[in-house]
């Protein structure tokens, strides 16, 4: 019995090894370096959905007179820096011509050097930390950056919400939260606002003391750009405490989980988020994407159980087409040629025009502000915010 088990395990291992090799000749691989588990698993899955939809629309590309089938190779980085190297190595070893990702700036930076050593260009989709592209000639990105987003949100708080005092709440040890709060604080103080900052430890579930502090400080707005798992608790507990000041957050909160939490548990909440895309921007795309999600139970599950379109999915869609554009421009399937072609690649996608500056960042000057409609459980578009 034991022997049978050992043999069957060995066969399984062999099969898995065989699975690594193979593949026909006219295939070009695009790597997807995203979290499918861990803290950011939900967001990562939505971003992948956008790429998979794009791949289902356009899965062939002509390079050098030959037609290639485009194949997505997905590697789960588990939202964790210590798993980043092997996840990135997986994509390198598969021979990907270009890589897309990741959701979460920390893992993007952690995987960066592995791609750099292999000479493979990476297109960041929604990683907003400046350090992702800074000093990395192989890393590009199609989204806006935290300094921009922080300033936009500070401007919005000042112009629209007429806030005088902001209470910022972030997770200790999370570079995204702390970084964005840092930029928000800088911009807000320049506009004459008063800013109080606080940090909660990882895996915290009781936010009452922080919310009481915010209340006692008479803050006009709470800025909490933390992960969605904490966000749901903050929304619920703020409602229980009767806090009626607006809650403001960055692109992470543009998620179905926030909508569900607000609709179910916080009918009076005023939640505003800044994001990359507002629904209604491109009707054809949205119809196609909804059909794609509703047509497959796995897709729907990965999207959080409904067909609300997250901005990260749209960004994933645009990233895929930007990669195709770069491949066409390079007219080659080699990573080195794509790397050379990327800086001058331009593409006009669903989220607007994408062109890279000298660092490799997309020149973006607008962010969309959306508000949760607690009765319908959908997003209401508020305004397009630019920096003064």
């Amino acid at each position: 019995m034991k022997k049978l088990l050992a043999v069957s395990l060995a066969v399984l291992m062999l099969v898995s090894l065989c699975a690594c090799g193979g593949g026909s000749k006219n295939v070009i691989k695009i790597g997807v370096y995203e979290p499918q588990s861990g803290d950011n698993g939900a967001g990562g899955k939505q971003e992948i959905l956008g790429m998979q939809y794009a791949n289902s629309v356009t899965n062939e590309i002509e390079i050098g007179g030959k037609t290639y089938k485009v194949e997505l190779v997905i590697s789960d980085n588990e939202s964790s820096n210590d798993k980043a190297v092997s996840a990135a190595s997986k994509l390198v070893s598969e021979g990907c011509a270009v890589v897309l990702g990741s959701y979460g700036s920390g893992v993007s930076i952690a995987g960066s050097d592995t791609f750099a050593d292999a000479g493979i260009p990476v297109i960041g989709v929604t990683c907003t930390n400046p350090q992702v592209t800074e000093g990395n000639s192989h890393y590009f990105r199609i989204c806006f950056l935290d300094p921009f987003q922080g300033t936009v949100l500070a401007n919005f708080a000042n112009d629209e919400l007429k806030a005088k005092k902001a209470y910022c709440l972030g997770q200790l040890g999370n570079d995204y939260d702390i970084g964005l709060i840092n930029y928000f604080k800088q911009a807000a103080e320049k506009l004459g606002m008063e800013v109080i900052t606080a940090e909660f430890p990882k895996d915290n579930s009781d936010f009452n003391s922080y919310l009481t502090n915010a209340k006692n400080a008479k803050a006009d707005v709470i800025f909490a750009p933390c992960s969605t798992s904490y966000a749901q608790l903050i929304i619920e507990q703020a409602e229980k405490q009767g806090i009626d000041v607006p809650i403001l957050a960055g692109d992470t909160w543009d998620s179905n989980q926030i909508l569900d939490a607000a609709k179910a548990k916080a009918p009076n909440a005023k939640i505003y988020v800044s994001t990359f895309y507002a629904e209604g921007g491109d009707v054809n795309f949205e119809k196609g994407f909804r059909d794609f999600i509703n047509g497959n139970s796995v897709n729907k599950q990965n999207n959080g159980g409904n067909d609300i379109i997250a901005a990260v999915s749209v960004m994933g869609y645009d990233a895929y087409y930007t990669a195709l554009e770069a491949l066409k421009k390079a007219d080659s399937v080699k990573a080195a040629d794509v790397l050379k072609a990327l800086p001058s690649t331009t593409y006009t996608g669903v989220t607007g025009k994408i062109a890279f500056d000298s660092i490799g960042d997309a020149a973006r000057d607008t962010a969309y502000i959306k508000k949760v409609n607690t009765s319908t459980g959908l997003w209401d578009f508020v305004k397009v915010q630019t920096i003064k």
């Binding site: 690594c20 190297v85 070893s93 702390i178 840092n182």
Partner: protein, 413 residues
């Protein structure tokens, strides 16, 4: 020296036959290690990058680092019987000490972007590179940084060991677990940001790809060889310690504290020693992990990381050095390489509908549960792997089968 102690301690155990076996094991181990190093060197430099070698290199590197971490934890938990869960905290200290000391001065402004370039403005590998050349300089510099990393971790262990080691069993585990959590929170605190970079990660320090030798236009890489070299030396030191009189004292403390004390073993002193030495190697492991990852962030050093190492120790066998090593390589390879196909939705060209992102984690957890429930002694139990042992195992196969048959027929009667 250790051999002498060994012989002095148990002269009756040293028959000529055993003397011969021990010689075969030693010579064989040296030959096998030499072959391994040649293979690693070839792997680093000459083998073409493909889907197999591309994954083999990171898995070997990380596996070796975790082997060291497991052995260092085994020294404490398995050989001294102190159930400590502070491993991640000491790794964090070691990793950060290494990274902070080796970030080049020119990169400080970029890395410490929120803290005006940070407080420390020198880099040890850079200092050595200035007169030894880039390759050798980073080699010498990183080794010195690794040793400092280990020493700092050991210093912290000495400090917290004084109060904590007075506790026993579960209380010790809780206290050390708490220590690791506190260390993580302190490293993330903005107040120390000028040194630790707060919540943000550290990067651009000397990594494994910097360990190379440039001869003219040819650049020889030593990344994997370097990891294995440090890990081999460290594990060898631990094995020598375990086989020395101190090691026997550790075992005595584990088996029965009162008897050990009656035999004249200073309990606290030996516990302290084991704790400090284990933490030193955890610090070294943390530094190597930082080199492997190329970036380091305190958020990753959670208690889950300690549990992962503890799991490997249990799978390998508590009280077996070779078991810890085998389990570390198997665990890392299975988790980060072999089981990845479960995420992809197909085996080769066959579509499997229930394979999807994250499915790997489910299967892996079930496999771990089965191992821990049904093979609770682990792969090696408390035995060690040796060349003569393997040879004898094969030699005795027939006899074992015969014995089994006899047993079976006896039971049948």
């Amino acid at each position: 020296m250790f051999k002498k102690i060994n012989n002095a301690l148990n002269p009756s155990l040293r028959h000529p036959e055993q003397e011969r076996a021990s010689r075969i094991n030693k010579v064989g181990a040296i030959i096998l290690l030499a072959i391994l190093y040649v293979f690693l060197f070839v792997l680093d430099n000459f083998l073409p990058a493909g889907s197999f070698t591309g994954m083999l290199i990171p898995v070997l590197r990380k596996g070796a680092i975790y082997a060291l971490l497991c052995v260092s934890m085994n020294l404490l938990n398995g050989f001294t019987g102190l159930f400590s869960l502070g491993q991640a905290g000491f790794m964090l200290i070691g990793g950060y000490a290494y990274a902070i000391l080796s970030i080049p001065a020119s990169q400080h402004a970029a890395v410490y972007q929120y803290f005006d370039g940070g407080a420390i403005q020198f880099s040890i590998p850079e200092f050595f590179s200035s007169f030894l050349g880039a390759g050798l300089g980073s080699f010498v510099g990183s080794i010195i940084c690794i040793i400092i990393a280990g020493v700092i971790a050991a210093l912290f262990a000495a400090l917290i060991g004084i109060p904590v080691l007075r506790l026993k069993s579960d209380y010790l585990a809780i206290a050390t677990l708490g220590f690791a959590e506190i260390i993580r929170a302190i490293f993330q605190w903005n107040g120390f940001g000028i040194i630790t970079n707060g919540s943000n990660l550290l990067r651009k320090y000397t990594a494994l790809s910097d360990i190379r030798w440039d001869i003219g236009s040819v650049s020889l890489k030593f990344g994997t060889v370097f990891v294995f070299l440090i890990v081999t030396i460290c594990i060898l030191l631990i094995v020598l310690l375990i086989n020395s009189s101190y090691g026997r004292a550790f075992n005595a403390v584990r088996d029965d504290e009162i008897s050990a004390e009656a035999m004249g073993i200073n309990l606290f002193k030996h516990k302290m020693m084991s704790f400090i030495i284990s933490s030193f190697f955890a610090g070294v492991g943390g530094a190597l992990l930082a080199m492997y990852q190329t970036t380091i962030q305190s958020a990753a050093f959670t208690s889950a990381m300690t549990y992962e190492i503890l799991l490997m120790v249990v799978i390998g066998g508590i009280g077996s050095v070779s078991g810890s090593g085998i389990a570390a390589f198997l665990y890392i390879a299975a988790n980060e390489w072999w089981l990845r196909f479960l995420d992809s939705g197909s085996i080769g060209s066959i579509e499997v509908s229930f394979f999807r992102g994250g499915f790997r984690k489910v299967i892996f957890s079930i496999a771990i549960m089965i191992i821990v429930l049904f093979f609770s002694r682990g792969i090696m139990g408390d035995k060690e792997l040796s060349i003569t042992g393997v040879i004898n195992w094969f030699k005795n196969r027939k006899e074992r089968k015969l014995a089994k048959k006899i047993n079976a027929s006896k039971e049948g009667e």
